[in-house]
Symmetry: C2
């Protein structure tokens, strides 16, 4: 059978702890060299882009891809396909609008588990959209968070975020009226914005970094998207990324830091290498650390698989049968 899962069906199947666990498993597998993850294809269309990100997971016995396409103007659609190597079966095709935000959050959760100070209780969130929600969920899943501040330029949106997420996560959330006030004293800073088109798209500045902070920045995933300044990369004493190659190719923030000479590759590590202990994480309680993600196909395929499993368990989605013939030779 092949399951079709639309966006409404996928969202309630996303359990943040399950996503963190499964993506961690995927990163382990990738670090061991048992995953095949080519550079993702970013194809220009007449009015936007068509991105194709496949991955093969040889320990998990899975493979699949995410395809997303569109433009900032017209909007974007996301599809994740998950296959099992056993029987060469297409397990599921799912809308990945919410899941992309959830797996990005889960990856931030893994980074935060590895890189934030263990007792971190205070979090600042810059941004109030879907990614801000999923990233905060993930941070709260891995640290004993008690107090959260949130800033986004629209007062109503930040108030709504606080009102929604406080009860959901059982933490005290306060909306504040400037980014600088938001991050002051926070042990973990989540930057998850969509500042495209604003006169000044920079939402977080390196000048604000305080000793011991972990900054999780996830918004700049295309060359034209910005949210943290080059000083953040310069002031960070250790930088962890989810893909060294893609970060440099795809993130406008990383590109800006590179062109300003503020991206020192000697202090950049890969998340999966930190996870398996090949490379150090945080060196001291006082170290200022930056985690910058752009998203990888490993995250998508593993996240899609756990959603598929949960859908089967709960009997959700539309079963369209095995619509792909097996051609034998």
């Amino acid at each position: 059978m092949t399951l079709i899962l639309n966006g409404q069906e996928v969202e309630p199947l996303c359990d943040m702890r399950a996503l963190i666990d499964v993506i961690e498993r995927g990163l382990h597998e990738e670090a061991l060299g048992h995953a095949v993850v080519p550079p993702r294809l970013n194809l220009p269309t007449a009015g936007g882009f068509f991105r194709v990100m496949p991955a093969v997971m040889n320990d998990s016995g899975l493979m699949g891809y995410k395809v997303f396409h569109g433009s900032i103007k017209a909007g974007v659609r996301y599809l994740i396909a998950v296959y099992s190597q056993e029987g060469e079966r297409l397990l599921a095709l799912m809308d990945a609008h919410y899941l992309t935000a959830a797996r990005t959050g889960a990856t931030t959760g893994i980074a935060t588990k590895l890189l934030a100070n263990p007792g971190a209780k205070t979090v600042a969130v810059i941004g109030s959209g879907l990614e801000a929600r999923t990233n905060l969920q993930a941070v709260c899943a891995v640290r004993p968070v008690e107090r959260v501040t949130v800033f986004s330029p629209n007062p109503e949106r930040r108030a709504r975020f606080a009102a929604r997420m406080g009860p959901e996560l059982g933490v005290d959330i306060r909306a504040v009226d400037s980014a600088e006030a938001c991050v002051r004293g926070a042990e973990i800073v989540v930057v998850a914005t969509n500042s495209f088109g604003r006169p000044d798209p920079i939402a977080y500045r390196g000048a604000w970094m305080e000793p011991g902070v972990l900054v999780d920045a996830i918004g700049s995933t295309s060359t034209f998207l910005r949210e943290i300044d080059a000083d953040t990369f310069q002031r960070a004493e250790w930088i962890v990324v989810d893909s060294k190659v893609q970060a440099e190719e795809e993130s406008g923030d990383v590109k800006a830091a590179l062109s300003e000479g503020k991206y020192d590759r000697a202090k950049v590590a890969d998340l999966k290498e930190v996870l398996v202990g090949n490379v150090q994480g945080r060196a001291s309680a006082q170290q200022m650390v930056l985690f910058k993600s752009v998203g990888t196909a490993v995250q998508d395929v593993m996240a899609g698989f756990v959603v598929y499993q949960e859908a089967v368990r709960q009997g959700r989605g539309q079963d369209i049968g095995e619509f792909l013939d097996l051609k034998t030779f």
Copy 2:
């Protein structure tokens, strides 16, 4: 809406002339530089492969991909997805087992229209499987074919092929008991075999080439697949391929000719360049010409689109609605 089309539904929607026309349009578009076609990704899995082939067609306003995966041992499944750039919609997901053979045939049809002598009436087919059928259909769609000979090692299979295709195409088809006898005197030779695993996988030899012949060879699309010998490449006076890069990377036949020093790039042209007249086709009635295809994503996306259109017209397939959300910014 998104249409799901299984293999049984796709086959009767494949009209060879419509496929030839639409793929020709795609090749034109590609030759003009209005298509984006990255090298296809060929990812190893634990027991086989996972191939991902996307293409963006900016004149047609389409994009999509084919994914096929599996192994010779376990079998292979094929999926084609077609999207419209307008509205960023996923139009259809379809089984592409038959369609892959049909679009390969259609591409051979385009090559044959450009490269065979205009009055060619005699065709030899080596092979009796699905690709042998679709390639012969295509050749008969572009030339006034009257007599066909067919050879494959299994007498029953070649007899069945003749009995089936003769009435279907309205031509005289005779099964013969050797490849050499099959091709003798034929103006067009179609080599469409699956000789994997045989002691001698070579099904056609350059020694058999006669003045004026066009050889269409389509079976060697992976490095481990062979069907024509290196001498065929050496004796051919002009060679046309559907993708110069992919032919050298993916075809075991081309690789063998390269390693034996019998693949002279100076006499190799790209089908789309011949189609638009940038490069010559056949130079004389006596010239011996070889067309070698490996398949491209342009062929898949354009073929998938015409099948989608026909499905809509005939009301076929399963409409699963617009299951991909449009995320706006």
